[in-house]
């Protein structure tokens, strides 16, 4: 997940690995996969992890509406308070947690995030979810999996697998927040 990293002004050898077209195709495919795996839209709830997981979740739900003609409930799940690294950094601001009205009990919750990296964010998300209810199943959809897992966590649906070195920075830009859709990698000097 990129959110922990401060944006820098200098674009050090940033290279685009997903174009805007790549992003929308990946999202379409993920939306289809979720529906296929779930055999339809029944009991599905999509929760985006702020900040970029949220617009991604919304887009997935839009695609699903086109495909199945059903409005899948969508919301957000802020994991800040469950992070395991709070003590090691300055105080972090919180984002909204917005659970759809029918809740998550006995539902199939699909967590949506932009980048899967160490896996700690998802661990925190599972803990946060446990306090909100008891889903029947929890799945994970990410736009980018860049490897380097530190915990036994894997994504069910991946937009693109991106092998990276740990020193590189993966940046996801989304039209809703950044004006355009693009995924870039930069840095990599050691």
């Amino acid at each position: 997940m990129v959110a922990a990293v401060q944006p820098t002004r200098t674009e050090k050898l940033a290279r685009e690995v997903l174009t805007s077209g790549d992003v929308s195709r990946a999202l379409r495919r993920i939306a289809h996969e979720i529906l296929e795996r779930n055999k339809g839209a029944d009991d599905l709830v999509l929760l985006g992890i702020p900040s970029r997981g949220v617009p991604l979740a919304r887009r997935l739900v839009t695609v699903m509406a086109e495909v199945e003609g059903v409005q899948v409930p969508v919301g957000s799940l802020d994991v800040t308070m469950h992070r395991d690294d709070l003590r090691h950094q300055p105080v972090r601001r919180l984002y909204p947690t917005d659970i759809p009205p029918d809740g998550i009990d006995d539902k199939v919750v699909v967590l949506v995030d932009d980048v899967l990296f160490h896996g700690r964010t998802i661990r925190a998300a599972l803990e946060a979810l446990a306090e909100l209810g008891r889903p029947r199943a929890v799945r994970l959809a990410v736009l980018v999996d860049r490897g380097h897992r530190e915990l036994p966590i894997r994504a069910d649906h991946v937009g693109k697998n991106l092998p990276t070195s740990s020193s590189e920075r993966v940046r996801v830009h989304l039209a809703e927040l950044d004006g355009e859709d693009s995924v870039t990698i930069e840095g990599g000097d050691r």
Binding site: M81, H82, L86, R87, P90, V91, L94, P96, T97, E131
Partner: protein
Amino acid sequence: MNRHLLSSADLTRDDVETILATAEQMHEVQKRDVKKIPTLRGRTIINLFFEDSTRTRSSFEIAGKWMSADTINITGKGSSTSKGESLRDTVRTIDAMAVDALVIRHHASGACHQVAQWVDASVINAGDGTHEHPTQALLDAYALRQRIGDLDGRHVAIVGDLTHSRVFRSNVITLGRLGAHVTVVAPPTLMPSGIADWSKTDGFATSWDLDEVLEGGGTHGPVDAVMMLRVQRERMSGGYFPTPREYTVTYGLTRDRMRRLTAMNPYVVVLHPGPMNRGLEIAADVADSPNSVVLDQVSAGVAVRMAVLYHLLSGEA
């Protein structure tokens, strides 16, 4: 935000907005079945109350516990008549147990400022004498914003015993930070000394005439909210006002005043930090009216205190 919260003046506008935004998230926790988040696990918070206060203390205690901190209540001794252990010794003994925060309520103004000089822990002022009560001002702002939204340019009247009120002092600062206009209303005997200069420096208006202010005839025009402060009957013996009856007629939020007020502004908000003297400074049914946010203030208290604890204690030390 520095590591203590001693005065409302310690918080910039940004700080206040951040805390109130965080409080909104914390408020969600209150609505859950399992009211527990792990954020302050392993932190130790001591509620050191030298002055009785069930409401504030339990609010802080619940806030700490919901955030998984270890909270312990200690009743401080040390009124001016029992000169046993000095205040310094009392707090340093507790601090020596490597606690993370001291939430302190004390009967003497400035006590928290002094304690902050003597300990390593974070110090949170839960009310010091007649000086300040920063978390109260924050929860008042929170409850007010929930009703009427953004406070920029809004007009809040604070009415009652200003001389002995720490709520007044903190609220003037916090409301000012959020861009609200404040008018304080009290008889001259209940206004702190030097208030004329003070009001000029800090930009709030003063008035002895409650009706004029409620009718919108004061400096800042129509009021959006009225905060009634508790008046202690004991003040009569100090000669501050002749009888409770006279106080109610001249400075109380009576049914009649409320009727005229809501006729001008049906959405006017009534606040009271509590505990209330129903019938003295506020009529019983005014306190229970739909315009009153008294219970919201209490509910907000836990969320706001969770937010304060979060911002002072969750990050790196």
